[in-house]
């Protein structure tokens, strides 16, 4: 094979899309041709760079999509069926008739079908139960799991479920209850989005010792660097407070995120003292990030402190 032919074949060779005899031809040529070997290496590097650009959908988006799909499937039912809420099973019977095309087999007993529907809508997708008035189930209930299903011989069924209810509350940031909820939301383990929003709102209220304590906890322990950075913003005006200063020093020496360490340096050097210089000198000795090291060196120079420890 000529260099030109091999160069053209390299992308397909990389993806394993060449016939075996052509593949062997490429391999033989590349072994003896440095320029084509470099071409192949470039193709591999390109693929590796593109791999890093791959986006995995976040689990929250997948969950939202599944919930929306449940709702969309439910909306496929006819308005007449939706109005038929006085008969709980009627809701499902009518929904099912319109959900499936006439050609599809529909021979199962109604009770069994309704059970499947309930499982689909309420349990498996763990979505909100859309507008149901079934057996005292609240319209805004969220069914988190179905514990047991017991049919009897009269065609009725008893279902034991865990139900939670979503409430929307609103109020001003100064409201005691709102603040209490925000403080709790800042510790919401499963949702970094909620934590970041709450911490952002709390940053304007850091004069309260309770809020400051939540911000300090976030700076020290939150696994998400975005939340830690927001919490640091809230502590900006309190960097001379002994407790805040002590926490910032610990964070500077142990936080794994270079961005967080940079911000802590900015907060600490706002009030220059010998203790801060000592911490920065200690950090330089172990810091492996060139930007953070440079920031430390500049800060020490501004403080007229020596860059190294003696």
């Amino acid at each position: 094979m000529t260099c030109d032919e091999v160069t053209r074949a390299i992308p397909l060779y990389h993806y394993g899309e060449l016939a075996s005899e052509v593949e062997e031809g490429v391999e033989d040529h590349v072994e003896s041709c440095a320029s084509c070997r470099a071409e192949l290496a470039y193709q591999k590097a390109l693929a590796a760079a593109l791999d890093r650009h791959d986006l995995a959908p976040p689990p929250e988006l997948l969950t939202e999509c599944r919930h929306e799909l449940v709702r969309a499937v439910y909306r496929e039912e006819t308005p007449a069926a939706r109005r038929n809420a006085s008969d709980p099973w009627g809701l499902f019977r009518d929904a099912f008739r319109s959900l499936w095309h006439p050609g599809i087999r529909f021979g199962q007993p109604i009770g069994a079908m309704a059970l499947v529907a309930l499982g689909f809508f309420a349990a498996r997708f763990t979505g909100s139960f859309p507008g149901a008035t079934l057996g005292g189930l609240a319209p805004d209930a969220i069914v988190s799991s179905i514990r047991s299903v017991q049919p009897d011989n009269t065609g009725r069924v008893q279902i034991s479920l865990d139900e939670t209810r979503r409430r929307v509350v609103s109020g001003r940031l100064e409201d005691q209850d709102i603040r209490r909820l925000l403080l709790a939301a800042a510790r919401e383990q499963d949702n970094p989005g909620v934590r970041v929003e709450s911490v952002q709102l709390l940053t304007d209220q850091s004069s309260s010792a309770e809020t400051r304590s939540v911000l300090l906890e976030a700076v020290m322990r939150d696994p998400n660097p975005g939340v830690r950075l927001k919490a640091l913003q809230g502590l900006k005006s309190f960097s001379t407070d002994p407790e805040v200063h002590r926490t910032l020093t610990q964070v500077l020496l142990k936080d794994q995120n270079a961005g967080v360490r940079m911000q802590v340096i900015d907060l600490l050097i706002a009030h220059q003292d010998a203790a801060t210089a000592g911490v920065l000198q200690a950090l330089i000795g172990k810091e492996d990030n060139s930007y953070v090291r440079m920031r430390c060196q500049n800060a020490l120079r501004d403080m007229n402190a020596s860059v190294g420890t003696f």
Binding site: L55, L61, L69, V73, P225, Q256, M262, Y291
Partner: protein, 205 residues
């Protein structure tokens, strides 16, 4: 080794039989089976949509529309091709429509200008690693921007073929089946896409 290969082939055959049974159950009106079918494919469908369109809103629309079409039309599925191919035909058609519409109203960039400078809306999807290095991050941002530009320079079809081959690992023959074209045409598409990307990314790799 041979036993491993035979085991894998048996597992594939068993899973195919299992899928056939699930699809037949969905066609028979089994909602539970529909949910199983959705869950078997929905992550890869969402991944394809999000990588192709680089917009969570559009990816969400594609997800909904695709699975609703499956829901409404599963009774027409006759097992002439694999369910994967059938589903991906639906998904790729919807994605191509989105990409074409976007071309008409100019590329809707994932990077938007804010008061704090340009921000990639997709960055919020990637949790920053604990060892993120500002220097490396700067280089990554530059590379990411260039890759974005390279992908934007592809035609919708080239982009689709590249996405399905590179990120979804589909063979070109299967891609041809999904897109209703020949393996050879898919091969040419992949070659053109790779060449265009090499031109744009050039010195950065």
């Amino acid at each position: 080794m041979l036993q491993d290969a035979a085991g894998a082939a048996n597992a594939r055959a068993a899973s195919k039989m299992d899928e056939t049974a699930v699809i037949r159950a969905v066609q028979g009106g089994d909602q539970d089976a529909f949910e199983r079918l959705v869950r078997a494919y929905d992550q890869s469908v969402l991944r394809l949509a999000i990588n192709l369109l680089r917009s969570p809103e559009d990816a969400r629309d594609v997800y909904q529309e695709a699975f609703l079409r499956v829901y409404r039309n599963i009774h027409t599925f006759r097992f002439d091709c694999s369910f994967h191919t059938w589903l991906y035909r639906i998904v790729t058609n919807i994605c191509l429509d989105h990409l074409r519409k976007r071309k008409v109203r100019r590329e809707e960039a994932a990077v938007i200008d804010t008061a704090d400078g340009p921000v990639d809306r997709m960055d919020s999807f990637e949790e920053e690693g604990p060892d993120a290095d500002p220097e490396r991050q700067m280089w990554n941002n530059q590379l990411s921007g260039r890759i974005q530009a390279a992908l934007a320079g592809l035609t919708p079809r080239e982009r689709m073929v590249f996405e399905l081959r590179h990120y979804q690992g589909m063979r070109l023959r299967a891609i041809g089946d999904v897109l209703g074209t020949s393996e050879e045409a898919a091969k040419n598409c992949l070659f053109r896409a790779t060449q265009k990307m090499r031109t744009v990314l050039g010195d950065l790799i």
